[in-house]
Protein backbone atom coordinates (compact mmCIF):
# COMPACT_ATOMS: atom_id res chain seq x y z
CA UNK A 1 0.00 0.00 0.00
CA UNK A 2 1.42 3.39 -0.91
CA UNK A 3 2.16 5.36 2.22
CA UNK A 4 0.94 8.91 2.09
CA UNK A 5 4.50 10.23 1.75
CA UNK A 6 5.41 8.97 -1.68
CA UNK A 7 2.36 9.21 -3.88
CA UNK A 8 2.99 11.29 -6.98
CA UNK A 9 0.88 14.46 -6.48
CA UNK A 10 -0.30 14.12 -10.08
CA UNK A 11 -2.09 10.94 -9.06
CA UNK A 12 -3.93 12.54 -6.16
CA UNK A 13 -7.44 13.92 -6.25
CA UNK A 14 -7.67 16.55 -3.54
CA UNK A 15 -10.64 16.36 -1.21
CA UNK A 16 -11.26 19.63 0.58
CA UNK A 17 -14.14 20.81 2.73
CA UNK A 18 -16.25 22.13 -0.11
CA UNK A 19 -14.40 21.20 -3.27
CA UNK A 20 -12.80 18.27 -4.97
CA UNK A 21 -9.70 19.33 -6.87
CA UNK A 22 -7.45 17.89 -9.55
CA UNK A 23 -10.09 15.52 -10.81
CA UNK A 24 -8.99 14.67 -14.33
CA UNK A 25 -6.05 12.50 -15.18
CA UNK A 26 -3.26 14.14 -17.12
CA UNK A 27 -1.15 11.15 -18.14
CA UNK A 28 -1.86 11.36 -21.84
CA UNK A 29 0.37 12.56 -24.68
CA UNK A 30 0.67 16.28 -25.18
CA UNK A 31 -0.31 17.43 -21.72
CA UNK A 32 3.06 17.73 -20.04
CA UNK A 33 5.81 19.28 -22.17
CA UNK A 34 8.80 17.04 -22.87
CA UNK A 35 7.29 14.02 -21.17
CA UNK A 36 6.31 10.81 -22.88
CA UNK A 37 2.87 9.67 -21.81
CA UNK A 38 2.07 7.58 -24.85
CA UNK A 39 0.33 4.33 -24.05
CA UNK A 40 2.21 1.14 -24.71
CA UNK A 41 1.51 -2.44 -23.80
CA UNK A 42 4.97 -2.95 -22.30
CA UNK A 43 4.67 0.18 -20.20
CA UNK A 44 1.25 -0.92 -19.03
CA UNK A 45 2.52 -4.41 -18.17
CA UNK A 46 5.34 -2.92 -16.11
CA UNK A 47 3.24 -0.48 -14.14
CA UNK A 48 -0.13 -2.21 -13.78
CA UNK A 49 -0.71 -4.21 -10.61
CA UNK A 50 -3.52 -6.27 -9.12
CA UNK A 51 -3.62 -6.86 -5.37
CA UNK A 52 -6.16 -9.17 -3.82
CA UNK A 53 -7.48 -8.28 -0.38
CA UNK A 54 -10.40 -10.67 0.02
CA UNK A 55 -11.42 -13.53 -2.16
CA UNK A 56 -14.35 -15.72 -1.20
CA UNK A 57 -16.79 -17.38 -3.63
CA UNK A 58 -19.42 -14.71 -3.04
CA UNK A 59 -17.23 -11.67 -2.48
CA UNK A 60 -13.95 -10.43 -3.87
CA UNK A 61 -12.12 -7.22 -3.09
CA UNK A 62 -9.03 -6.39 -5.08
CA UNK A 63 -7.08 -3.35 -6.17
CA UNK A 64 -6.40 -2.36 -9.74
CA UNK A 65 -3.44 -0.02 -9.60
CA UNK A 66 -2.28 2.22 -12.46
CA UNK A 67 -5.34 1.74 -14.57
CA UNK A 68 -7.38 4.45 -16.26
CA UNK A 69 -10.84 5.19 -14.88
CA UNK A 70 -12.43 4.48 -18.26
CA UNK A 71 -11.15 0.89 -18.26
CA UNK A 72 -12.08 0.26 -14.63
CA UNK A 73 -15.57 1.56 -15.35
CA UNK A 74 -15.77 -0.63 -18.44
CA UNK A 75 -15.15 -3.69 -16.33
CA UNK A 76 -17.77 -2.62 -13.82
CA UNK A 77 -20.36 -2.07 -16.52
CA UNK A 78 -19.55 -5.33 -18.27
CA UNK A 79 -19.90 -7.19 -14.97
CA UNK A 80 -23.33 -5.72 -14.39
CA UNK A 81 -24.72 -5.99 -17.87
CA UNK A 82 -22.75 -8.25 -20.19
CA UNK A 83 -21.43 -11.30 -18.38
CA UNK A 84 -23.95 -14.06 -19.10
CA UNK A 85 -25.74 -16.09 -16.46
CA UNK A 86 -28.65 -18.50 -16.16
CA UNK A 87 -32.10 -17.41 -14.99
CA UNK A 88 -35.71 -18.49 -15.28
CA UNK A 89 -37.15 -16.96 -18.44
CA UNK A 90 -40.52 -18.60 -19.07
CA UNK A 91 -43.02 -19.90 -16.56
CA UNK A 92 -45.75 -22.32 -17.55
CA UNK A 93 -48.47 -22.16 -14.93
CA UNK A 94 -50.56 -25.30 -14.62
CA UNK A 95 -52.21 -24.22 -11.39
CA UNK A 96 -51.75 -21.25 -9.17
CA UNK A 97 -54.51 -20.73 -6.67
CA UNK A 98 -52.28 -18.90 -4.22
CA UNK A 99 -52.88 -15.22 -3.55
CA UNK A 100 -49.80 -14.33 -5.60
CA UNK A 101 -50.98 -13.52 -9.13
CA UNK A 102 -49.46 -15.52 -11.98
CA UNK A 103 -47.56 -12.52 -13.37
CA UNK A 104 -46.12 -11.60 -9.99
CA UNK A 105 -45.23 -15.21 -9.21
CA UNK A 106 -43.45 -15.50 -12.56
CA UNK A 107 -41.52 -12.32 -11.89
CA UNK A 108 -40.48 -13.53 -8.43
CA UNK A 109 -39.36 -16.87 -9.83
CA UNK A 110 -37.30 -15.11 -12.50
CA UNK A 111 -35.31 -13.18 -9.93
CA UNK A 112 -34.19 -16.27 -7.98
CA UNK A 113 -30.42 -16.74 -8.44
CA UNK A 114 -29.58 -20.23 -9.62
CA UNK A 115 -26.48 -22.36 -9.18
CA UNK A 116 -25.35 -25.53 -10.88
CA UNK A 117 -22.37 -27.22 -12.44
CA UNK A 118 -20.25 -24.25 -13.60
CA UNK A 119 -18.66 -25.99 -16.55
CA UNK A 120 -21.99 -27.22 -17.84
CA UNK A 121 -23.49 -23.75 -17.41
CA UNK A 122 -20.64 -22.12 -19.34
CA UNK A 123 -21.04 -24.65 -22.14
CA UNK A 124 -24.74 -23.88 -22.50
CA UNK A 125 -25.82 -22.39 -25.81
CA UNK A 126 -27.91 -19.24 -26.22
CA UNK A 127 -31.62 -19.71 -26.64
CA UNK A 128 -32.59 -17.35 -29.43
CA UNK A 129 -36.04 -15.97 -28.95
CA UNK A 130 -37.89 -16.10 -32.28
CA UNK A 131 -39.10 -12.75 -33.61
CA UNK A 132 -42.85 -12.27 -33.40
CA UNK A 133 -44.50 -14.07 -36.29
CA UNK A 134 -41.70 -16.59 -36.71
CA UNK A 135 -42.36 -20.18 -35.73
CA UNK A 136 -41.36 -20.86 -32.13
CA UNK A 137 -37.96 -22.41 -31.63
CA UNK A 138 -37.93 -25.68 -29.76
CA UNK A 139 -35.82 -25.60 -26.62
CA UNK A 140 -33.08 -28.22 -26.54
CA UNK A 141 -30.96 -29.79 -23.84
CA UNK A 142 -28.07 -27.46 -24.61
CA UNK A 143 -29.92 -24.17 -24.29
CA UNK A 144 -32.70 -24.72 -21.77
CA UNK A 145 -32.94 -26.00 -18.21
CA UNK A 146 -36.32 -27.22 -17.01
CA UNK A 147 -37.36 -26.75 -13.40
CA UNK A 148 -40.56 -27.73 -11.63
CA UNK A 149 -42.25 -26.32 -8.60
CA UNK A 150 -45.34 -27.93 -7.20
CA UNK A 151 -46.75 -27.50 -3.74
CA UNK A 152 -50.23 -27.99 -2.37
CA UNK A 153 -51.34 -26.81 1.03
CA UNK A 154 -53.51 -28.96 3.26
CA UNK A 155 -54.45 -29.15 6.90
CA UNK A 156 -52.35 -31.54 8.93
CA UNK A 157 -54.79 -33.79 10.79
CA UNK A 158 -54.65 -34.10 14.57
CA UNK A 159 -53.10 -30.72 15.35
CA UNK A 160 -54.23 -29.03 18.54
CA UNK A 161 -57.00 -26.49 17.98
CA UNK A 162 -55.10 -23.87 19.94
CA UNK A 163 -52.16 -24.09 17.57
CA UNK A 164 -51.58 -20.84 15.67
CA UNK A 165 -48.33 -21.55 13.80
CA UNK A 166 -49.32 -22.06 10.13
CA UNK A 167 -46.28 -24.27 9.58
CA UNK A 168 -47.57 -26.73 12.19
CA UNK A 169 -51.17 -26.48 11.03
CA UNK A 170 -50.72 -26.92 7.28
CA UNK A 171 -48.41 -28.64 4.85
CA UNK A 172 -46.48 -26.28 2.54
CA UNK A 173 -47.66 -23.18 4.40
CA UNK A 174 -44.64 -21.46 2.84
CA UNK A 175 -43.14 -22.34 -0.51
CA UNK A 176 -39.38 -21.82 -0.58
CA UNK A 177 -36.82 -21.78 -3.36
CA UNK A 178 -35.55 -25.17 -2.10
CA UNK A 179 -38.84 -26.73 -3.29
CA UNK A 180 -37.80 -26.11 -6.90
CA UNK A 181 -36.70 -29.37 -8.51
CA UNK A 182 -34.45 -29.78 -11.52
CA UNK A 183 -35.66 -31.94 -14.38
CA UNK A 184 -32.54 -32.82 -16.41
CA UNK A 185 -33.10 -33.52 -20.07
CA UNK A 186 -30.84 -35.48 -22.44
CA UNK A 187 -27.16 -34.90 -21.79
CA UNK A 188 -27.94 -32.72 -18.76
CA UNK A 189 -28.37 -35.97 -16.81
CA UNK A 190 -24.61 -36.47 -16.98
CA UNK A 191 -23.31 -32.89 -17.19
CA UNK A 192 -25.25 -31.78 -14.13
CA UNK A 193 -24.94 -35.12 -12.32
CA UNK A 194 -22.73 -33.88 -9.48
CA UNK A 195 -24.07 -30.38 -9.20
CA UNK A 196 -27.72 -30.04 -10.22
CA UNK A 197 -29.34 -26.72 -10.99
CA UNK A 198 -30.96 -25.30 -7.88
CA UNK A 199 -31.58 -22.00 -6.14
CA UNK A 200 -28.41 -20.36 -4.83
CA UNK A 201 -30.15 -19.62 -1.57
CA UNK A 202 -32.59 -22.35 -0.51
CA UNK A 203 -34.44 -20.09 1.93
CA UNK A 204 -35.94 -17.61 -0.50
CA UNK A 205 -39.68 -17.38 0.20
CA UNK A 206 -41.65 -17.65 -3.02
CA UNK A 207 -45.25 -17.71 -1.79
CA UNK A 208 -47.40 -18.50 1.22
CA UNK A 209 -50.25 -20.98 0.92
CA UNK A 210 -53.35 -21.80 2.93
CA UNK A 211 -55.42 -25.01 2.83
CA UNK A 212 -56.87 -25.69 -0.60
CA UNK A 213 -54.33 -23.53 -2.42
CA UNK A 214 -51.89 -25.02 -4.85
CA UNK A 215 -49.00 -24.03 -7.06
CA UNK A 216 -47.85 -26.17 -9.96
CA UNK A 217 -45.51 -24.52 -12.42
CA UNK A 218 -42.87 -25.56 -14.92
CA UNK A 219 -40.02 -23.18 -15.59
CA UNK A 220 -37.61 -22.86 -18.48
CA UNK A 221 -34.24 -21.28 -17.69
CA UNK A 222 -32.01 -19.81 -20.37
CA UNK A 223 -28.71 -17.98 -20.54
CA UNK A 224 -28.96 -14.21 -20.85
CA UNK A 225 -27.19 -10.95 -20.04
CA UNK A 226 -27.98 -8.19 -17.58
CA UNK A 227 -28.56 -5.75 -20.42
CA UNK A 228 -31.70 -7.70 -21.26
CA UNK A 229 -32.98 -8.08 -17.71
CA UNK A 230 -31.42 -7.58 -14.27
CA UNK A 231 -32.18 -11.21 -13.36
CA UNK A 232 -29.39 -12.24 -15.76
CA UNK A 233 -26.81 -10.05 -14.01
CA UNK A 234 -24.30 -12.42 -12.37
CA UNK A 235 -23.34 -9.90 -9.70
CA UNK A 236 -25.31 -8.60 -6.76
CA UNK A 237 -23.14 -5.50 -7.04
CA UNK A 238 -19.86 -4.67 -8.66
CA UNK A 239 -18.37 -1.33 -7.72
CA UNK A 240 -15.13 0.46 -7.17
CA UNK A 241 -13.84 3.35 -5.13
CA UNK A 242 -10.56 5.21 -5.15
CA UNK A 243 -8.00 4.56 -2.44
CA UNK A 244 -8.33 7.28 0.23
CA UNK A 245 -5.21 9.20 1.12
CA UNK A 246 -4.61 10.97 4.42
CA UNK A 247 -1.63 13.23 4.88
CA UNK A 248 -0.88 14.49 8.38
CA UNK A 249 1.02 17.75 7.96
CA UNK A 250 1.68 18.68 11.60
CA UNK A 251 2.09 16.26 14.51
CA UNK A 252 -1.12 15.77 16.49
CA UNK A 253 -0.42 14.64 20.04
CA UNK A 254 -2.15 13.60 23.24
CA UNK A 255 -5.88 14.17 23.71
CA UNK A 256 -6.04 15.94 20.33
CA UNK A 257 -4.80 12.74 18.70
CA UNK A 258 -7.73 10.86 20.18
CA UNK A 259 -10.17 13.51 18.97
CA UNK A 260 -8.47 13.32 15.58
CA UNK A 261 -8.90 9.54 15.44
CA UNK A 262 -12.57 9.91 16.34
CA UNK A 263 -13.10 11.82 13.08
CA UNK A 264 -12.31 8.68 11.07
CA UNK A 265 -13.67 5.14 11.01
CA UNK A 266 -11.97 2.71 13.36
CA UNK A 267 -8.45 1.66 12.35
CA UNK A 268 -7.85 4.53 9.95
CA UNK A 269 -5.79 6.49 12.47
CA UNK A 270 -3.21 4.67 14.62
CA UNK A 271 -1.06 5.96 17.45
CA UNK A 272 2.69 6.05 17.99
CA UNK A 273 4.77 7.21 20.88
CA UNK A 274 6.18 10.61 19.99
CA UNK A 275 10.00 10.72 20.01
CA UNK A 276 10.17 14.21 21.51
CA UNK A 277 7.47 14.32 24.16
CA UNK A 278 6.70 10.65 24.72
CA UNK A 279 3.00 11.39 24.29
CA UNK A 280 0.97 9.41 21.82
CA UNK A 281 0.87 10.88 18.35
CA UNK A 282 -1.64 10.23 15.56
CA UNK A 283 -0.33 8.49 12.47
CA UNK A 284 -2.14 7.12 9.45
CA UNK A 285 -3.08 3.50 10.04
CA UNK A 286 -5.28 1.85 7.48
CA UNK A 287 -6.33 4.67 5.14
CA UNK A 288 -8.12 2.08 3.02
CA UNK A 289 -10.92 1.86 5.57
CA UNK A 290 -11.64 5.58 5.43
CA UNK A 291 -14.96 6.64 4.01
CA UNK A 292 -13.62 10.15 3.25
CA UNK A 293 -16.47 11.66 5.22
CA UNK A 294 -14.42 14.91 5.60
CA UNK A 295 -15.49 15.08 9.23
CA UNK A 296 -11.97 16.13 10.22
CA UNK A 297 -12.20 19.20 8.01
CA UNK A 298 -15.11 20.54 10.07
CA UNK A 299 -12.98 20.88 13.20
CA UNK A 300 -11.22 24.20 13.69
CA UNK A 301 -8.38 22.65 15.75
CA UNK A 302 -7.24 20.41 12.88
CA UNK A 303 -7.14 23.19 10.32
CA UNK A 304 -3.90 22.92 8.37
CA UNK A 305 -2.97 19.67 10.12
CA UNK A 306 -4.31 17.25 7.58
CA UNK A 307 -4.87 16.87 3.86
CA UNK A 308 -7.39 14.42 2.46
CA UNK A 309 -7.33 12.94 -0.99
CA UNK A 310 -7.83 9.91 -3.14
CA UNK A 311 -5.45 8.16 -5.49
CA UNK A 312 -6.88 8.61 -8.95
CA UNK A 313 -5.58 5.43 -10.54
CA UNK A 314 -5.92 3.08 -7.59
CA UNK A 315 -9.27 1.33 -7.83
CA UNK A 316 -10.58 -0.75 -4.96
CA UNK A 317 -12.85 -3.12 -6.84
CA UNK A 318 -15.57 -4.99 -4.99
CA UNK A 319 -17.55 -7.78 -6.62
CA UNK A 320 -20.44 -9.57 -4.96
CA UNK A 321 -21.53 -12.66 -6.83
CA UNK A 322 -25.08 -13.98 -6.78
CA UNK A 323 -23.60 -17.47 -6.46
CA UNK A 324 -23.65 -18.88 -9.96
CA UNK A 325 -19.94 -18.15 -10.50
CA UNK A 326 -17.18 -17.18 -8.09
CA UNK A 327 -16.61 -13.45 -7.77
CA UNK A 328 -13.02 -13.60 -9.07
CA UNK A 329 -14.07 -15.75 -12.04
CA UNK A 330 -16.64 -13.12 -12.93
CA UNK A 331 -13.95 -10.48 -13.26
CA UNK A 332 -11.99 -12.73 -15.61
CA UNK A 333 -15.16 -13.27 -17.65
CA UNK A 334 -15.59 -9.50 -17.83
CA UNK A 335 -12.05 -9.20 -19.16
CA UNK A 336 -12.71 -11.82 -21.82
CA UNK A 337 -15.97 -10.09 -22.81
CA UNK A 338 -14.03 -6.85 -23.33
CA UNK A 339 -11.36 -8.72 -25.27
CA UNK A 340 -13.97 -10.28 -27.55
CA UNK A 341 -15.51 -6.87 -28.19
CA UNK A 342 -12.11 -5.39 -29.04
CA UNK A 343 -11.43 -8.25 -31.47
CA UNK A 344 -14.70 -7.55 -33.23
CA UNK A 345 -13.98 -3.82 -33.36
CA UNK A 346 -10.51 -4.44 -34.78
CA UNK A 347 -11.80 -6.80 -37.42
CA UNK A 348 -14.60 -4.46 -38.47
CA UNK A 349 -12.24 -1.47 -38.62
CA UNK A 350 -9.91 -3.40 -40.91
CA UNK A 351 -12.84 -4.39 -43.06
CA UNK A 352 -14.06 -0.80 -43.24
CA UNK A 353 -10.66 0.58 -44.24
CA UNK A 354 -10.19 -2.15 -46.82
CA UNK A 355 -13.58 -1.37 -48.32
CA UNK A 356 -12.81 2.35 -48.46
CA UNK A 357 -9.51 1.69 -50.17
CA UNK A 358 -11.16 -0.57 -52.73
CA UNK A 359 -13.95 1.93 -53.36
CA UNK A 360 -11.46 4.74 -53.90
CA UNK A 361 -9.46 2.64 -56.35
CA UNK A 362 -12.46 1.59 -58.42
CA UNK A 363 -14.10 5.02 -58.13
CA UNK A 364 -11.04 6.96 -59.38
CA UNK A 365 -11.40 5.51 -62.88
CA UNK A 366 -14.80 6.98 -63.75
CA UNK A 367 -15.59 9.79 -61.33
CA UNK A 368 -12.63 10.89 -59.26
CA UNK A 369 -12.94 12.33 -55.77
CA UNK A 370 -15.66 14.91 -55.30
CA UNK A 371 -14.77 18.46 -54.47
CA UNK A 372 -13.97 18.81 -50.78
CA UNK A 373 -13.94 15.06 -50.30
CA UNK A 374 -10.74 14.19 -48.50
CA UNK A 375 -11.31 10.49 -48.06
CA UNK A 376 -8.96 8.01 -46.43
CA UNK A 377 -7.69 6.54 -49.66
CA UNK A 378 -7.34 9.77 -51.61
CA UNK A 379 -3.51 9.47 -51.30
Amino acid sequence: MPSSDHVDPRRVVGVEAEIVTNVTSTDFPGHWPNEDHSWGIDKFKNTFRVEFHRNTPLFAEFDLIHMDASIANTFRRILLAEVPSLAIETVYVQTNTSIIQDEVLSHRLGLIPLVGDKKALINMQWFMKPASGDPPQDPTDDNTIVLHLSAACERIPGVSRSETDPHKLYTNASVYARDIVFDPAGKQVTTFANNPVRAANPNILIAKLRPGQEIDVTMHCVKGIGQDHAKFSPVATASYRLLPLIKILKPIRGKAAERFAACFPRGVVAFEADEETGEKRAVVGNARNDTVSREVLRHEEFKGCVELGRVRDHFIFQIESTGQFDADELFLSAVSVLKAKCTVLKRETHRMLKKQALDARSGSGNAGPKKGDRGWAAE
Binding site: A87, E89, T90, V91, V93, Q94, D102, E103, S106, G110
Partner: protein
Protein backbone atom coordinates in the same frame (compact mmCIF):
# COMPACT_ATOMS: atom_id res chain seq x y z
CA UNK B 1 -47.96 -7.67 -19.78
CA UNK B 2 -50.75 -7.65 -22.34
CA UNK B 3 -48.64 -9.56 -24.87
CA UNK B 4 -48.24 -12.38 -22.39
CA UNK B 5 -51.89 -13.17 -22.82
CA UNK B 6 -51.27 -13.84 -26.49
CA UNK B 7 -48.65 -16.45 -25.62
CA UNK B 8 -51.42 -18.54 -24.14
CA UNK B 9 -51.15 -22.17 -25.16
CA UNK B 10 -54.05 -24.55 -25.57
CA UNK B 11 -54.06 -27.55 -23.27
CA UNK B 12 -52.86 -30.86 -24.58
CA UNK B 13 -56.02 -32.86 -24.97
CA UNK B 14 -56.25 -36.17 -23.22
CA UNK B 15 -54.38 -35.03 -20.13
CA UNK B 16 -57.66 -35.56 -18.28
CA UNK B 17 -56.91 -32.89 -15.74
CA UNK B 18 -59.47 -30.28 -16.82
CA UNK B 19 -62.15 -30.55 -14.22
CA UNK B 20 -63.09 -26.93 -14.76
CA UNK B 21 -65.12 -27.89 -17.81
CA UNK B 22 -68.17 -30.18 -17.63
CA UNK B 23 -67.08 -33.78 -17.47
CA UNK B 24 -68.28 -35.45 -20.63
CA UNK B 25 -70.19 -38.26 -18.98
CA UNK B 26 -72.26 -36.50 -16.34
CA UNK B 27 -72.31 -32.87 -17.50
CA UNK B 28 -71.55 -31.82 -13.92
CA UNK B 29 -69.77 -28.50 -13.35
CA UNK B 30 -67.92 -27.87 -10.11
CA UNK B 31 -68.02 -24.47 -8.46
CA UNK B 32 -66.80 -23.06 -5.19
CA UNK B 33 -69.27 -21.73 -2.67
CA UNK B 34 -68.65 -18.08 -1.80
CA UNK B 35 -69.91 -18.62 1.75
CA UNK B 36 -68.45 -21.91 2.97
CA UNK B 37 -65.79 -22.63 0.32
CA UNK B 38 -67.00 -26.13 -0.40
CA UNK B 39 -66.80 -27.59 -3.90
CA UNK B 40 -70.32 -27.87 -5.34
CA UNK B 41 -71.18 -30.07 -8.31
CA UNK B 42 -74.08 -28.69 -10.33
CA UNK B 43 -75.83 -30.42 -13.21
CA UNK B 44 -77.67 -28.76 -16.07
CA UNK B 45 -80.96 -27.27 -14.95
CA UNK B 46 -80.17 -27.46 -11.24
CA UNK B 47 -80.63 -24.33 -9.12
CA UNK B 48 -77.44 -22.39 -8.51
CA UNK B 49 -77.17 -23.05 -4.84
CA UNK B 50 -74.64 -24.50 -2.42
CA UNK B 51 -75.62 -27.94 -1.27
CA UNK B 52 -74.07 -27.45 2.16
CA UNK B 53 -75.17 -24.01 3.28
CA UNK B 54 -77.75 -22.89 0.71
CA UNK B 55 -75.78 -19.84 -0.36
CA UNK B 56 -76.63 -18.64 -3.85
CA UNK B 57 -73.27 -17.20 -4.88
CA UNK B 58 -70.84 -19.65 -6.46
CA UNK B 59 -67.42 -18.96 -7.94
CA UNK B 60 -66.10 -20.48 -11.10
CA UNK B 61 -62.90 -22.42 -10.56
CA UNK B 62 -59.57 -21.39 -12.00
CA UNK B 63 -58.76 -23.01 -15.32
CA UNK B 64 -56.51 -26.05 -15.23
CA UNK B 65 -55.21 -25.09 -18.63
CA UNK B 66 -51.57 -24.18 -18.78
CA UNK B 67 -50.81 -20.47 -19.14
CA UNK B 68 -47.44 -19.18 -20.26
CA UNK B 69 -45.75 -16.16 -18.68
CA UNK B 70 -42.46 -14.41 -19.10
CA UNK B 71 -40.51 -14.20 -15.85
CA UNK B 72 -39.98 -10.43 -16.19
Amino acid sequence: MSDQREAYQPPNSGSGRSYAGPSAASGTMHYLCAECGVKVGINKGEPIRCKECGHRILYKQRTKRMVQFEAR
